[in-house]
Amino acid sequence: MSEPVASVRNLSKRFGTKEALIDVTAEVEQGDVIGVLGKNGAGKTTLLEILLGFSPPSAGSTMIFGENSLQLSEAAKARIGFVPQQDELLGMLSGKQQVAIGAVFHKRWDHALIDRLLVDWEVPTDRRIHTLSVGERQKLSVLLALGHHAGLLVLDEPVASLDPIARRRFLQELFDVGENPTRAVLFSSHIVSDLERAANKVWIIKDGRLYWQGYVDTLKESVVRLHVRARAPLPSVVPVPHRLACRVEGNRATVAVAEWSAAKRDALAKELEADVEVEPLGLEEIFIELHK
């Protein structure tokens, strides 16, 4: 196995008395596209910012390309692309001037790619940035992070203000890795459908803890909703292992469970003396069930 692109070890962060992150451990491997999912205020931005070395952890540590986030070399920094939640574009410049600055800062700047994306993504380049719409600014901001073919791309809510067509183009660009198949992407988003398409893995952050991490496929196969129909009235809490949420009405019940596998159905049906129907859940519904 090659060295992880980034790693987080037992990371905790306190702001005064508030615990923003609690004992988070995770890794980003080459080629990963990881979606960071969580409610507002769950700690997504804090996690990304500490990983990038913008603020020190209260406990634990984070590394990028094998270097401590707080002491990244220039060479390591040059291999990172970052799109912050609030863009850091210079309002008085035109799009063209802002792109020129990006090109100056990076040795390996892909002029052809950026020229193409400016056209494809319909970003006005002659107007001053402060006259652009929020969506146009966001497109420009994402585009600038793609220009130097970063080995690690970190995007904090990169597509929140983009329309569906722009979001689709953005995802396609994310996958057109071409010469850089080892690039890893870490992006937070509350637009679950984008995560569902793009991410091979998810990190679900809940109240500062990394509540679930792993492959999207595994998550979908292990969290399901069971529709139970028994011959006799069911107890108010249906006894199912790894139960998340449960609603009982007489001899019918709806139960969300984790760590499910198809093989468990028959045994459960027998134990409850019931018909058990399994409903697979999309990521959005899984997210909601995990927060009940």
């Binding site: 080629g31 596209v33 689709r168 995802l171 396609q172 996958f175 057109d176 890795v177 679950v192 459908s193 569902e196 398409r197 793009a198 991410a199 091979n200 999207v216 496929d217 979908k220 196969e221 399901v224 529709h227 129909r229 018909d275 129907e277 409903e279 697979p280 859940l281 999309g282 990521l283 959005e284 519904e285």
Partner: protein, 124 residues
């Protein structure tokens, strides 16, 4: 064709759809498949997801991999699957359908009427 927001993982949707196309003869032996990159871009899904589906189909003998060329539908065995084999693939969804119909207290006749209507509509 792919529904990323469904509870069925995307790689499994792909595997099921491609096996159905091969078993049904719409994808003939020797037919080439789009590259991982093409499919990933078309649907804006992660290329690893497509690779995973292709690898599973290859392991099961549905597809053949060729160095530096597109994958093709395997020339022998399953490509001309017998009717019983094709029907076997429908068993699980049909079980689920029948169970759901019973739970909704829908009669066999009503269900068959619905099936007929869906079959004729042609927009499925």
């Amino acid at each position: 064709m792919l529904k990323p927001q469904s509870g069925i993982p995307i790689y499994r949707q792909l595997v099921e759809q491609i096996t159905r196309l091969i078993a049904g003869g719409q994808l003939a032996p020797g037919a080439t498949l789009p590259s991982v990159r093409e499919l990933a871009l078309e649907h804006a899904v992660n290329p690893m997801t497509i690779s995973k589906a292709y690898a599973l189909l290859e392991a099961d003998g549905w597809l053949e991999r060729h160095r530096g060329k597109p994958m093709t539908v395997a020339s022998r065995r399953r490509s001309q699957a017998a009717l019983t084999q094709r029907l076997a693939q429908l068993e699980k969804p049909v079980d689920e359908l029948v169970l759901a119909a019973r739970q909704l207290e829908i009669t066999k006749k009503e269900l068959v009427t619905l099936l007929n209507k869906k079959w004729e509509d042609g927009d499925v």
